[in-house]
Symmetry: C2
Subunit: 156 residues, 2 copies
């Protein structure tokens, strides 16, 4: 599906504040409220926008520690196999297979360092995991919480 400049502006506005009213967004981009709603509905049904969520301060919920864990897997472990295994752990907030020495990279959030260790142990207990290599996050510089700037690749 093709997104024009207005669609991208709408996405940007909703990324910045998902609770903006259609009228507010319309005013910003020069469109009426119903026109904005129709476009939002279209963006939702096309899958460009997959939903709306609250931005939460992890520390407020007790998630004070985060870590990245590289997974080294045996032989030809499939991405699906890894995904299935780590999806069971709620502490894993992101996982992907990658190029390089390691096979996969996990991003985990936990209550404290001890909790991080428990999660790593659980991951390492999987049959396909040969070894892991972890790095604890010291200070977060840029959050993955989306902002307007990340709504579209820059023109360059």
């Amino acid at each position: 599906m093709e997104l024009d400049a207005l669609d991208r502006a709408i996405v940007g506005a909703l990324v910045e504040d998902a609770r903006s009213t259609y009228a507010e967004i319309g005013h910003q981009i020069g469109l009426s409220a119903p026109a904005v709603k129709r476009r939002v509905d279209r963006l939702l049904s096309s899958g460009a926008i997959t939903g709306f969520t609250a931005r939460v301060e992890p520390s407020a919920l007790g998630w004070t520690t985060e870590a990245y864990v590289e997974l080294f897997c045996r032989g030809k472990t499939s991405p699906a196999e890894i995904g299935l295994a780590v999806a069971r752990l709620p502490e894993v907030i992101s996982a992907c297979t990658i190029t390089g020495e390691a096979d996969a990279l996990l991003h985990i959030r936990a209550k404290d360092v001890r909790h991080v260790e428990q999660v790593i142990e659980r991951v390492a207990a999987e049959a396909f995991v040969v070894r892991t290599k972890s790095a604890i996050v010291l200070s977060r510089l840029i959050d993955d919480t989306p902002h307007a700037a990340n709504a579209a690749p820059r023109a360059d």
Copy 2:
């Protein structure tokens, strides 16, 4: 600030769908709409909830490639210095300092592999960067888009 069970349920509901009505949330947790609104307002002003955002499919916006870049910095480069430098690049959607050999880890999104290379070049051009080590994401298994399961540490 202390969050009770009702607050956590509200946060969970809003993480799952930021456009739920107060009445819907109230029905789920056994509270009236105004009571829910008051708690949401409190969660917002206390900073537990920092805002509401749209979940966007990156590929729909042209972000088809992602990578993780480890930064090895010279001497005693401060986290603030790294943060300031990478904040200028819109492709950097996450950045943190970490334990281990590398000093920092960046998560970047780009239009294609060529674009990833350009971003790495720009990062490497910073005076404090000694070298970088990158891994291109092959397949994403778990998204960082928050779901209900990630709204609170599990009881254990």
